[in-house]
Symmetry: C3
Subunit: 273 residues, 3 copies
């Protein structure tokens, strides 16, 4: 199934509308192209309904939000939900400011999202409405480890139940869950946290996977997470001794663009809990 | 003449004002530097007249437009036209929303542009005011092929006549025409469509070429198109087996920065119709 | 001391709030991660006080400013100054428009910055309120050379005295001074000027160095400048014959991410005047 999700993106070329931050937007666009999708970025309220209507998915990322783009997120979100498009929220920096937390919560209240993808601190900020964040990065205390794994699985399943959606909590160990099942994914590398935007890239990728696999949303989100993590491992294997975080970013996107079903099948490391 | 256009950019270092989208802006800046020009980005209406006045060219790209930047585009466009600067419009996503189509058409109505550069779908949306777009990419049906080449050449020449400007329609085959002559350019690779922003990059490059070759605008636009396509071919030749679309983008910009007259002369593939 | 500044960034992981332009923002984020800091970008006035409060440094860069973000810069600047955070101003394009010059001057009037970092033309525009700029690049006439070095050192020390801050004037020769001492730094390469954003990247890096070395601000700013220049030299040494400005950018950021105390100590070239 996991490999089939990859195949479906490459065959269906879903068009993804992204309302996303200006820090990592270029990488998000290139990652979506790399996986077989087509990106379009548009955040003007006057056009977002029309733009999202011609797409199959909407990826809302609240990094570098402002009052103008928040309005566009809300309008686009409602339209995409009405059209049953694949709808993903990346609550970048939730917990770091009231504006971010409140915007994410009000988007979730107004529109049904198929999936919420964030780090531990961001998801805690939304679910528990209390957070200890380190800006846009997870707090050092917020790490999924072997010791707290059971507890974290319960947390994401509960939050998935509460929101009636898929919750993808990414970090050293990635948890992708609905209220019944949780994929515990151990692909990825520590070095990925030294690059800006790996979370944003994964959100773009996940939205594309979801849009091309509407019948299997949980598998689609899990597959996207494995692709990203595995690309991180493959990219690292090609890093020359004089290469650092900037080249690593390129190697990761490259690996996504070259990823095939066989490589994914051989490299995916997960269990279902 | 084609090689001379390249030389003139490297010798004159034109300063180019870009009002462009935030997705590919960094690549546009690096491409302009790569070809020998200097970029400046500014989209605040309070400063665009002043900024454009110190430049030699203005590159307007409507991707990620908003009401604030549309106003800046109009004000800057009028000023640049008044000063007889090289003026290029890239109607990104025309046809994908009314706002984009209308903005492009109203810019064209208010200001004389020296060149319009877009893909087939975008140019059809403007010329025929009916379009079948795939977001910011050309529709699959909108491809210049050996079969429809004559018809497409007539289309671009007619549109160039109607708008009294140069029309550059880029895709698998690139057509760069005024109302008399059409350069049919076959440089480039299929893989270039797997990178975000190759169109935006070409617009930035073309504006720089135009600014440094005001006496030969058609040749300048054709030369820029050949440079971009040839850089795509050279870049591909340096792609390692483990490299994909992200590294390819770097290789293309690299090849533009290393492009010399001899390489361009040897590699340019075109006929004039 | 220089090497200790590097070590302190890597050990303290300062969180840096950046209000910066959308052209080079991704590179700034990756450079800050490369040196050991964490970036957060936020420019909405409703959240900037809260965001900057959780950080240790604020990097304000006025490239692609607009009326909305200028307001955010002012509000964030005051809050960061009140909290005694490391505060840096990069007056991109000062002298190229009245809006940029006036914005930089009014930020300086309202808030005390620890350091102003710009090229010769930008700093002259602010200090002398008369300038000959080439857009966002220094004018060809504005170069620090062996011939005018004494005069330039006096200029930066005087301006540092006037503003009661550190002044970093970067170009072929970099001068980093307070009113008493001037580091004359000769690291760096000519090719760095062929990449967009090396100045912006240095500002991000310098703000991180300052935030992690509050007791030694002048040394911190000098060290950041040496790291950037040395990374330019190291990056160039890894440039393949077919690589140009785009790959060079990656090599530079890579070199920053791999920079260690020993390499910095061996490679730093400066005298104190």
């Amino acid at each position: 199934m996991i490999e089939e999700c990859l195949k479906n993106v490459r065959e269906n070329h879903p068009l993804i509308h992204n309302i996303t931050n200006y820090v990592t937007v270029n990488d998000v666009a290139n990652v979506e192209l790399a996986c077989g999708a087509s990106p379009i970025m548009a955040d003007e309220v006057l056009e977002v309904e029309e733009i999202t209507s011609i797409c199959q998915g909407l990826n809302i990322n609240i990094g570098t939000l402002n009052t103008r783009t928040i309005e566009a997120m809300k309008v686009a979100g409602k339209k995409a939900a009405f059209l049953h498009h694949a709808l993903l929220l990346d609550p970048v920096g939730a917990g770091a400011s009231h504006l971010r937390t409140d915007t994410a919560l009000s988007l979730l209240a107004e529109t049904h999202f198929d999936v919420i993808r964030g780090n531990v601190s961001e998801l805690k900020a939304l679910a528990l409405q209390s957070a200890d964040t380190h800006g846009v990065d997870a707090s050092a205390a917020d790490v999924v480890t072997a010791d707290n794994l059971d507890q974290m699985i319960t947390f994401v399943k509960d939050y998935a139940h509460e929101r009636n959606c898929i919750v993808a909590m990414t970090g050293a160990i990635d948890l992708v869950a609905d209220d019944q099942q949780c994929y515990v994914i151990t692909n990825g590398t520590k070095a990925m946290s030294g690059i800006t935007g790996t979370g944003c890239m994964l959100s773009g990728l996940m939205c594309a996977y979801l849009a091309a696999n509407k019948e299997h949303p949980l598998e689609a989100c899990a597959a996207a997470t494995m692709v990203m993590g595995l690309a991180g491992e493959i990219g690292l294997s090609h890093l020359a001794s004089y290469e650092g975080n900037s080249s690593y970013r390129d190697h990761i996107i490259d690996a996504i663009s070259l990823m095939d079903e066989k490589t994914l099948k051989a490299g995916a490391r997960y269990e279902i809990r």
